[in-house]
């Protein structure tokens, strides 16, 4: 029906306009509802990472990155605790608390039953930092401790652009603070635990400008012939550990 070709009486026209207005309003509402999730989730959360250090903006020196990944891999082998670090450009306009929680849920640091994960998030351009601690560890890595790690270590280091150093110190302090929580006998099972871990991790290694390095981890001996002149040194005596554990996510944040 065309209401233009043959103008309807005012009363009917009013009804039609009202009807159209309502349609537009409904449509606008529908559009808004449709876009709310898109607006709220402007930040594209990466899927659960393979590494402990997830530097999406190449902020860290490659040596620091390899070192931290190795350190955190050792730490997981030893304690089963997982410390993940995410370095992002910005919050993409999202709210820190909400976004960090969603990343925590997507990445699920820690072992499922123990909930022993820690997530340190850095949003560089927004100068926002946040530490999310799984319930299993919040008894030891408390809000107060997390706060002091951020305020005493990370903020001052980040202000002077010492990102790698700040993270190394922060990780060391977390490990020390958590202590023996969830630790187990690891030395004898190290090789076994390592191969378990390797299965889900991509290998990482550093290029060494034509330096010649060779590395051996040996379980047993081999034999050979006489020696030649070498420089070198040896050391011995590394020991074991003991301990056990306890529930999810708490937080701490700070601008830097």
């Amino acid at each position: 029906m065309s209401f233009r070709a043959k103008p309807a009486p005012d009363s009917i026209r009013g009804g039609i306009f009202h009807f159209i207005k309502r349609k537009i309003a409904t449509l606008a509402l529908a559009m808004t509802l449709l876009f709310i999730p898109l607006l709220a989730h402007a930040f594209d959360i990466p899927s659960k990472p393979d590494n402990y250090i997830n530097d999406y903006i190449s902020l860290l020196d490659p040596n620091d990155k390899v070192y931290l990944n190795a350190l955190l891999a050792d730490y997981e082998i030893k304690t089963s605790n997982q410390i993940f670090i995410g370095i992002f450009n910005s919050l993409e306009g999202e709210v820190l608390e909400d976004l960090s929680m969603r990343i925590a849920e997507a990445w699920r640091a820690g072992q499922l039953k123990k909930d022993n994960g820690v997530l340190l998030l850095i949003f560089l351009n927004d100068r926002q930092l946040r530490i999310e601690v799984g319930y299993g560890l919040e008894g030891v890595l408390t809000d107060a401790k997390s706060k002091s790690i951020i305020e005493q270590i990370l903020v001052p280091r980040f202000r002077t652009q010492q990102f790698g150093l700040g993270l190394k110190e922060a990780v060391a302090t977390m490990m020390k603070t958590i202590g023996n929580e969830f630790s187990n006998e690891f030395t004898e099972n190290y090789g076994q635990n390592l191969s378990k871990l390797k299965k889900r991790q991509k290998p990482i290694w550093v290029p060494f400008f034509g330096l010649l390095l060779f590395l051996i981890i040996m379980a047993n001996s081999r034999h050979g012939r006489r020696g030649i002149t070498f420089g070198g040194t040896s050391g011995s005596g590394f020991g074991g550990f003991g301990g056990f554990g306890r529930r999810y996510f708490r937080r701490r944040e700070k601008d830097f």
Binding site: N63, V66, Y67, A70, L71, A73, D74, Y75, I77, K78, F186, T187, Y190, G191, L194, W205, V206, F208, F209, G210, L211, L212, L213, F214, L215, I216, I217, M218, A219, N220, S221, R222, H223, G224, R225, G227, I228, T229, F230, G231, G232, T233, S234, G235, S236, G237, F238, G239, G240, F241
Partner: protein, 106 residues
């Protein structure tokens, strides 16, 4: 492993053909988990240039890590440190190639 890990290391060093570098500048990190022992061996070319303290420093650093069960972190830290030191004596030269594998054997 029988005997001294340094002696063992020398044998392995040769067996792996690590002495076959032009500047004799290979380095071996040897770690025996079972025996709780480790050794760091540098070839002649390196030993002639660095001081004995160099090896001690690296040793002490690695020991600190290994005692805490942080094996990969200790190795990475040790290798990075060796790398920094060696850069001074063996800067990358034109036509350099990787003469030995940068690998881990087990």
């Amino acid at each position: 492993m029988e005997g001294d890990i340094l002696e063992e290391g020398k044998k392995i060093f040769e067996q792996l053909g690590m002495t076959k570098t032009a500047e004799r500048n290979g380095i071996l990190f040897l770690l025996s988990l079972k025996d709780h022992q480790f050794a760091i061996l540098g070839d002649q070319g390196i030993h002639d240039k660095v001081h004995a303290e160099f090896w001690q420093t690296i040793r002490n650093e690695l020991e600190g890590y290994f005692k805490q069960g942080l094996f990969s972190a200790g190795l990475v830290a040790g290798i990075v440190k060796c790398g920094e030191e060696l850069k001074r004596y063996f800067p990358c030269q034109a036509g350099d190639k990787n003469e030995l594998p940068d690998s881990i054997s087990s």
